[in-house]
Symmetry: C2
Subunit: 418 residues, 2 copies
């Protein structure tokens, strides 16, 4: 099956760097083509050709994208999309100024989500989560990372990973599972931390590796969660078992997480709101991706990660929604790009690279996706605009009108105003 993605107004290939990642000032290069079309051969990008050399008869199907802007399929590299229960009431309390500690004491916070997830069946969770996946697809997202981390015991962490793997089977996009057993300590292990870490290391991780339930092992290194030494123990075991590593770190406190992550060559370090200057220098030299989550700062009215300093130091930056019920109930990746532009002073081009090629690097998939290059997967996000700047400038509106995954149209916004 040979298809032609014909005549976009702007075609952003994002393919400048042969290492398939953009760092420092390279993050501003968007590699813009006009008057070109894309040849799709089955699942892959076969060629990028000038319109003048197009022979339409050679194709089984022409997808006319005149007047539209074509980007690589977007990559959402950090979400907690699989949860049940509503924390809207907690949001209401927060708006009313109720203290976070008080909300937690009265049974709110992450514990309420853990309770709900533990009580929910596999089927109930699937039913709750499906509209969220479809919402991501409607935005042009073709690769989506989802973490466990609301089960916090063997049975329920495995259940969540099974849900994520099942979602990957039933949806045409790539859904990448991350094991986040080390999200926080469950209520039953607040005073028996060693026991929970033992459960992660000797029960959960071996089973997950054996059953291939996760690509990544993640953790939360924070004063209220895991120490750097505890993360170190978990990472040693995860590495032995062949899992890739990610770490939530430097969000509220800098307690050694960054060094532990770098010691293990983690694929990404995520958050970094309180990252110090020495950390910025280290990330400028590392291949570890800095995943920034400005939605959290917006949602919690908290400081933003030092994006410009990271760029100046030559770091690799990705952006993600961190979609979750407590600290970033924001599912719009373009809104995250706008927040990064307005509140972290990233340029439009930097935000685009940060949700495509660099987000792919944060999932260790940048050899296959994240840019429009011959041999890569035919994943595209088609925006209903003649200029890509509008993706960031047109705030609060989903301009994606077509999502293509592995050469197939999987979302097409029909005219719906009657």
């Amino acid at each position: 099956m040979k298809k032609l993605l014909f005549n976009p107004s702007q075609l952003l290939t994002l393919d400048t760097h042969s290492k398939n990642v953009k760092r420092g000032t390279g993050l501003s290069e968007i590699d813009l083509l006009h008057d070109h079309s894309i040849v799709i051969n089955n699942n892959f990008i076969a060629d990028i050709i000038p319109n003048s050399s197009v022979n339409k008869n050679k194709f089984d199907r022409i997808i006319d994208v005149t007047g539209k802007t074509v980007l690589p399929g977007l990559v959402e590299c950090h979400t907690h999309s699989v949860f049940t229960g509503s924390r809207a009431d907690e949001f209401r309390q927060k708006l009313a100024g109720v203290d976070y500690e008080k909300i937690a004491e009265s049974g709110g916070g992450i514990n309420s989500t853990v309770r709900s997830v533990r009580q929910s069946s596999f089927e109930d969770i699937i039913k709750t989560v499906k509209p969220r996946i479809e919402n991501f697809i409607s935005q042009g997202i073709t690769s989506l990372e989802i973490k466990s981390g609301y089960g916090l015991d063997f049975e329920n962490e495995i259940k969540l990973l099974q849900v994520i793997n099942y979602l990957n089977e039933i949806y045409p996009i790539d859904i990448i599972p991350t094991f986040l057993g080390a999200h926080t300590f469950p209520p039953e292990h607040k005073t028996t931390r060693d026991e929970y870490i033992d459960e992660i290391i000797n029960k959960m991780l071996p089973h997950i590796a054996e059953q291939k339930l996760a690509k990544f092992c993640d953790g939360f290194c924070e004063a209220t969660a895991f120490t750097a030494d505890e993360i170190d123990l978990i990472f040693i075991r995860a590495e032995e078992l062949g899992l890739n590593l990610k770490l939530h770190t430097e969000q509220f406190n800098s307690i050694g997480g960054l060094n532990t992550a770098l010691k293990h060559n983690a694929v990404s370090v995520d958050h970094l709101e309180v990252l110090q200057d020495d950390g910025i220098i280290k990330l400028g030299k590392a291949d570890t991706v800095s995943v920034l989550l400005p939605g959290v700062s917006f949602f919690l009215k908290y400081q933003y990660a030092p994006a410009r300093k990271l760029i100046e130091s030559n770091a690799i930056i990705a952006l993600a929604t961190d979609f979750n019920p407590g600290s970033s109930h924001i599912s719009s990746l373009s809104l995250i790009m706008s927040l990064a532009a307005l509140n972290m002073r990233m340029t439009i081009e930097e935000t685009i690279n940060a949700v495509s090629i660099n987000a792919a690097a944060a999932l260790k998939m940048n050899d296959k996706i994240g840019s429009i290059e011959i041999g890569k997967r035919a994943d595209f996000s088609i925006f209903d605009t003649e200029e890509y700047a509008n993706i960031v400038y047109d705030i609060g509106r989903n301009l994606n009108c077509m999502t293509i995954k592995n050469g197939e149209i999987i979302y097409n916004s029909a005219p719906s105003v009657t």
Copy 2:
């Protein structure tokens, strides 16, 4: 034609106050019904009845909204949606730290929009604006105010008002035209202000009144635009001609606009970011609606209007996007509600009243729309959620799945992920 809007999970009538407006603490009353359905008779709300007394055979059509939340059709009471030309590049310059004055000097700012509008034909403008109207409709907005103000001469201000009136004809929602000739001084009148004011008073306003091209006369009282005395002259004439009044005021400088607006019993005063305490007290006693525009503060990284102080002083508050190319390129009303909640500390209930009954009051239409009451228009916004808090909590996502205007379904989000 008798229809039944059957069995919503939550039905928010917002009908507590017989005066059809909510002020002060009343702004928190959302008047929630469960297990009730709405009887629609032609264009109007005929009854609100308990589900237990529903006889489905009595209706020509049942619209089943089980599991969904029903609100009055949303009212967007302050937009500049009719413009042409892109200012995305200017947004890029702003992000890069280029000074606003410099952008204006190099031909940017409002003057670039005015140039573009003057060069655009009636048909070109319509073509550009249609997707914006449809975007508002898809959000559940059934009444939409649009201002002129980018023509700034007789021919082009009239052209814009004709566009707005034409849009009102071709779309099923109510589109309310506001004349904003006093938006700023056009380039050709920077040193001949009196001549431009004379043109407004003696040429534009009489023609607009005679042709019934606008419901409201609006102005911008600001150091860089019109003085309070200039606005006074314009308002005197507009009132004589039977137009209702609105005023952009207290945005960057407090130069007397509020007093002029109150002297003329303006229907609304809009912006109010630098509103002083004496103004807050005055608005607490007035019937003039305070239209707050938090998207501007977000977009410009500027201070927010004192919403809580206004509520405490018993003022009538409405919220709107202020959608425009320069200072709030934000078209999502639910994002505005989230901004109001997060950054102006309005409660979820206050934001809902501010985009329905109070926004209707800001358009002097609160006797007909803005709440779900017998005799009012059958305008509804149906949200795909069981609890209304999600409209504000689920940030960056359009939860509206059906828009009903005058009893007709005018938007219905079909499942589009294939």
